[in-house]
Each structure stands twice: as structure tokens, then as C-alpha cells.
């Protein structure tokens, strides 16, 4: 009854929320029921509901096959991205904040965020200009120095480094701006007091700036741990040009699901991989949040 009463009293507010609620149902909640596909032998004619149940068969196939490889790749890359990403972004934010000349500081910021606004298609082509086997800048340099050119798009050795470099090239400027925004929100009085007490600049950074950044660091980290089973699809698919020769070091859960859907047409198994990804991510967020709550109640996400 309270609901009907509220509905009448706030009908405009409900109406305002309606478009968003409809979008959420259609594009987020409806597909959630589709996870039952992971337990079915899907065929196009019987549809989602009509296809026969096969229990955990899809998961068995997945774990017998590529699950280990794609899980390892996804986790290792994400660990590097999260840990080094945090250190690089915070360090860069502090360095940017220390620049005295406002014009210079603004210019640096503008240039550093620029790559963030490029699409992966464009980033892939830009790096192709460096890595291309015959015309690329790197191979020109190698030939010039009398070394053998490297066929990057079929040689696995270099890709972990290339992918890590490309990821940071595109994103560090942007994430440092989030931390810079928080640094500028710190009350100047803290620094004033510290200066009077004779604290050096380094001590101020260690005992004021970094502790003040703690809440935002924790939130960003919880969010990225929740996404630790997800990879940036564009990075792994586009920048590598989905080259099959590189799969041992570039195939992550997202590209695996995508390739499974488009080339193999194995709906059941790819849905199982997707569910595995979503479920583990969900559990990880809950656990991380629980740990954070134990340590510092106010920093938890919920």
C-alpha cells in the first residue's frame, strides 16, 4: 500500500526514473537470465528456454581446455595494471601538483590525458606504425643497426611488455588526474601546520598527501579488483590484431568469449566462460569490501 501511495504522491519522480529503469531491465537484467545458457546445449531453433539442459558439461569442457591459460593471462595482466597503475598514477599526480608554473602544469596535463581519448582502433594503428614487420619504425632502427628485424605480430616473447606499455601509455594520464583532483582538495592548513613544525616537503608528501589519498585509492582498488576477471577487450583484441600466433600470451577471458561466439559458435561454453568471469568478479568485490570494512570501516564501498 505504501508503494501505491508513494507512486501517486511522487508520480513525476517515478516518471523521471522510468527511462533509466527500462534501459536497466532490457540491457542489464534481461541478459542475466541468459546465464542459464551456460547449463544448456544451446541451439538456435529451440531458443534459450527450449534448448536441452546439460548440467555442468560446458564448464567441464572449459576447464579441460583453455580455462587455465586465459585465467592466468587475465589475472597476471590485471595484477600488473592495478599495482603499477596505482603507483604510477599517484606518483605522477604528486609530481604534477609540485609544478609551480600553472601554465606548464596545465599543458602537461592536457598532453598526458590525450591518449586516453583515442579509440583502441586508432591506438592499434598507431602502434602498428612502430611494430609493422617491414615498414615499422622499430624494425627500421634494428636494420639500421645491423640487427635482424622482428616479426612482432607472430612472436610471443615481446607482447607482455608491449601490452603493458600500451595500456599505461593510454591510461596513466587519465588516472593520475583523478588523484590530482583529490590532492587539490586537501586543505592547505595541513601543509601550513606541517611547515611551521619544520616538516620537509618529502615528509609532507609521506604523512599528509598519501594518507589523504587513502580513501580514493581504496575505492579505485576495490573497483578494479572487482574487474580483475575482465580484461580491456580493445587492448587485447585490437592492438594484437587478434593474431592467433600470439594467443598463448594475449588470449584473455574476454577475447576468448568473443572469439568463441563469433568463430566457433559455441554458445554454451562461451556463456559458461562469461558466467565464470562474472561470478568470480562478484565474489572478489564482496570479499575485498569485507576485508576493507574490517580494516577501516569508512573506506568500504558498501
Amino acid at each position: 500500500m505504501t508503494f501505491l501511495y508513494e507512486l501517486r504522491k511522487n508520480k513525476v519522480l517515478f516518471l523521471m526514473a522510468l527511462p533509466a529503469l527500462i534501459l536497466l531491465v532490457l540491457f542489464n537484467y534481461l541478459p542475466m537470465f541468459g546465464v542459464i545458457l551456460a547449463f544448456k546445449n544451446y541451439n538456435f531453433y529451440d531458443g534459450i528456454l527450449g534448448s536441452p539442459w546439460i548440467g555442468f558439461k560446458n564448464f567441464e569442457y572449459l576447464f579441460k581446455g583453455d580455462a587455465w591459460l586465459i585465467t592466468r593471462n587475465t589475472l597476471l595482466y590485471n595484477f600488473v595494471f592495478i599495482i603499477f597503475g596505482l603507483i604510477l598514477a599517484v606518483a605522477l599526480a604528486i609530481v604534477l601538483d609540485e609544478i609551480r608554473n600553472r601554465f606548464l602544469s596545465k599543458t602537461y596535463q592536457t598532453i598526458l590525458i590525450m591518449p586516453y581519448f583515442l579509440s583502441w582502433t586508432i591506438v592499434a594503428l598507431i602502434f602498428y606504425a612502430f611494430l609493422s614487420a617491414d615498414k615499422g619504425i622499430i624494425n627500421q632502427a634494428l636494420t639500421y643497426m645491423g640487427m635482424h628485424p622482428i616479426n612482432f605480430y607472430s612472436e610471443t616473447t615481446y607482447w607482455p611488455y608491449i601490452l603493458i606499455f600500451v595500456f599505461f601509455w593510454k591510461s596513466v594520464g587519465y588516472s593520475s588526474i583523478i588523484y590530482l583532483a583529490s590532492i587539490t582538495g586537501i586543505s592547505p592548513e595541513y601543509y601550513e601546520a606541517a611547515t611551521i613544525d619544520g616538516a620537509s616537503k618529502w615528509q609532507q608528501i609521506r604523512f599528509i598527501t598519501i594518507p589523504c589519498l587513502k580513501p580514493i585509492i581504496i575505492i579505485m582498488t576495490i573497483l578494479s579488483i572487482g574487474k580483475i576477471f575482465y580484461a580491456d577487450f580493445g587492448l587485447f583484441y585490437q592492438v594484437t590484431y587478434n593474431s592467433g600466433a600470439l594467443y598463448p600470451v594475449t588470449q584473455v577471458i574476454d577475447t576468448y568469449v568473443y572469439n568463441g561466439l563469433t568463430s566457433m559458435g559455441n554458445y554454451g561454453m562461451t556463456a559458461a566462460a562469461g558466467l565464470y568471469q562474472s561470478f568470480v568478479g562478484f565474489v572478489l568485490v564482496i570479499i575485498t569490501n569485507w576485508i576493507v570494512k574490517k580494516m577501516d570501516k569508512d573506506s568500504a564501498l558498501f
Binding site: 579509440s119 586537501i186 568469449v257
Partner: protein
């Protein structure tokens, strides 16, 4: 932006110099690859095939751009698609996001927490690519339509949280109450008070959305087969993978035919430059809003 921490007890000059040097190196690393692409697009095809990509072309040429504009039908069509999707998508998304954020920012609204959870849960759990694909194609029948390029990205939980926090912190409840006492309706309050006061927040979220739509190739690749609906980014990607296909399966007759249809290296970089330049020109104008919007809108609500 205020340089709060450096007002007091600044680092010695030598450190300032070191920091400047570090940043200059980083900026060069960020910008050099982009400059290379511009250089390639102005290099003559002959010098490209003789000497490869170069920062300083040995032979300048506008041929790539001439080629692109002569064979411009698909490019023009794709530009329409990209501009249309970006403009309509951004406006639609901003409207839906702002309305929902406003409802969630109203502390006196009983169901605000229920609705916020309904939204927040989508950040934690989702059906995954395969179920989404089947729902969009077989249930909603959106494949190969204009709307499939817009609707899936139109509501982002992250953007709603930024904007809701912004509204809660920068709009006084007293203003809204005063307006209500003066007899203003909810819609009037939203359009005349809430929206104008949320400008920095709207600009931040708007820039994110605009970039998302402008840069999208994934939805196109997944759902679009009709050439009339191929966006610039997706077209660029298709060009590149066709070339890889041709070069790795060289010499057959069909490949020679394919090769003839594919623009040369320089032309590809010219298309890239055409796609890239508007976004590079647009975002410095948004940047001041962007930092402000992120600061106030912080992600915790």
C-alpha cells in the same frame, strides 16, 4: 586548479627542474606516436614503400588525402553514422542519466535506495557477452539498426553515480524547497534549476559519453552488417583486418582484386587522422569542466 600543497615549503629549484624534465619526457612519449601518424599521412606512397614509415618524410605529398576524398562514398556515409550516433546518443544518454541522477539525489524520495541498488548491482554482476548478444538480436531484434549503436551505452552506472553525487553536493535542498513553495512543479525545477546548476557535472559525464560513442567499434563489429550503418572506427578496423588478411594470404587472383580496392598505407593513416583530429581538438575545451566535475562528483556517494 589550485596548487595547494606547493604554496608552502616548496621543493628546492633543482627538484623542480627534475620534475619538469620527467614530465617533458612523458609528454614526448605520449605525443610522438600521434605525430608519426600525421607524418605518415603526408608522405608520398613511393617513399613509404621504399623507406617505410618516417617521422620526417623524404617526400611530402597530399595524395593520401586526395585518394580518400575521391573514394569518399563509404567514408562520408560512415561519417554521417558516427556523427549521428554521437550527437543523438550523447543527448539521449545525458537526458536519461540526468533524470535518474536527480531522482536518486532526492533525499526525501522513499524508493531512492532501492533504485540505487537496482543500478549498483549492474556494476557487480552481469549476464556476459553471449546472453546480451542473444537478447539484443533474438529478443529485442536490434541487430542492424541505428539504435543498437546507441542504447547499450546510454546508461552507465558510473556516470549516474558521478552526477548524483555532484547534484547532492552542489544543489542546496533549500533552493528546491523555495521553488516548490513558489509553486514550481517537478519538471520546472528539474529543467530550470537542477540542470543549470549541474553544468560542470553534465559536462564531465557528457564528455565521457561523447568519447564513448565517437570511439565505438565494438557494437558495430558485433551487430552491424549493413554498410550504411558502419561507423568510422569500425570501417577503419575492417580496412586494417582486410589488409592483414590479404597480405598474409598473398598472390591469389581474388587477393589481387581485393588489394586493388584497399587504399594504400598512407590513405589509411589519412583516414585515421580524419577520425582523430576532431576529438583532439574538442577535448581541451572540456578539460576545465572535466577536472572540476571529477573533483566534486568523486565516486563515493
Amino acid at each position: 586548479m589550485e596548487q595547494t600543497s606547493s604554496k608552502f615549503n616548496q621543493l628546492p629549484k633543482s627538484w623542480n627542474l627534475v620534475f619538469n624534465l620527467i614530465l617533458i619526457v612523458l609528454c614526448v612519449v605520449c605525443i610522438i606516436p600521434i605525430i608519426l601518424v600525421y607524418a605518415i599521412s603526408f608522405t608520398s606512397e613511393a617513399s613509404l614503400s621504399a623507406k617505410g614509415y618516417q617521422f620526417l618524410p623524404s617526400e611530402w605529398s597530399l595524395d593520401a588525402y586526395r585518394y580518400v576524398f575521391r573514394n569518399g562514398d563509404q567514408i562520408l556515409q560512415s561519417a554521417y553514422v558516427t556523427i549521428g550516433v554521437t550527437a543523438i546518443g550523447t543527448l539521449f544518454s545525458l537526458l536519461v542519466t540526468a533524470l535518474f541522477s536527480y531522482v536518486l539525489s532526492r533525499r526525501d524520495f522513499r524508493y531512492r535506495n532501492v533504485m540505487a541498488f537496482f543500478l549498483f548491482f549492474t556494476m557487480l554482476f552481469n549476464g556476459g557477452l553471449v546472453p546480451s548478444y542473444i537478447v539484443n538480436t533474438n529478443v529485442l531484434h536490434l541487430a542492424d539498426t541505428f539504435w543498437i549503436l546507441i542504447l547499450p551505452y546510454s546508461l552507465s552506472a558510473f556516470n549516474v553515480i558521478i552526477l548524483r553525487t555532484f547534484m547532492q553536493q552542489s544543489i542546496e535542498t533549500a533552493i528546491l524547497e523555495a521553488a516548490r513553495i513558489d509553486g514550481a512543479g517537478e519538471w520546472y525545477i528539474f529543467a530550470r534549476i537542477v540542470l543549470p546548476l549541474s553544468k560542470p557535472g553534465l559536462a564531465t559525464v557528457g564528455l565521457f559519453t561523447l568519447v564513448t560513442y565517437w570511439n565505438d567499434w565494438f557494437l558495430g563489429q558485433l551487430y552491424i552488417t549493413n554498410p550504411k550503418l558502419v561507423s568510422l572506427q569500425y570501417m577503419l578496423m575492417k580496412l586494417q583486418s582486410n589488409i592483414d588478411f590479404v597480405t598474409s594470404n598473398a598472390t591469389s587472383a581474388t587477393n589481387n582484386m581485393l588489394m586493388a580496392q584497399i587504399p594504400a598505407e598512407g590513405a589509411r593513416m589519412a583516414i585515421l587522422v580524419i577520425v582523430l583530429t576532431p576529438i583532439l581538438c574538442a577535448y581541451p575545451f572540456f578539460q576545465k569542466y572535466f577536472v572540476k566535475g571529477l573533483t566534486i562528483g568523486g565516486i563515493k556517494g
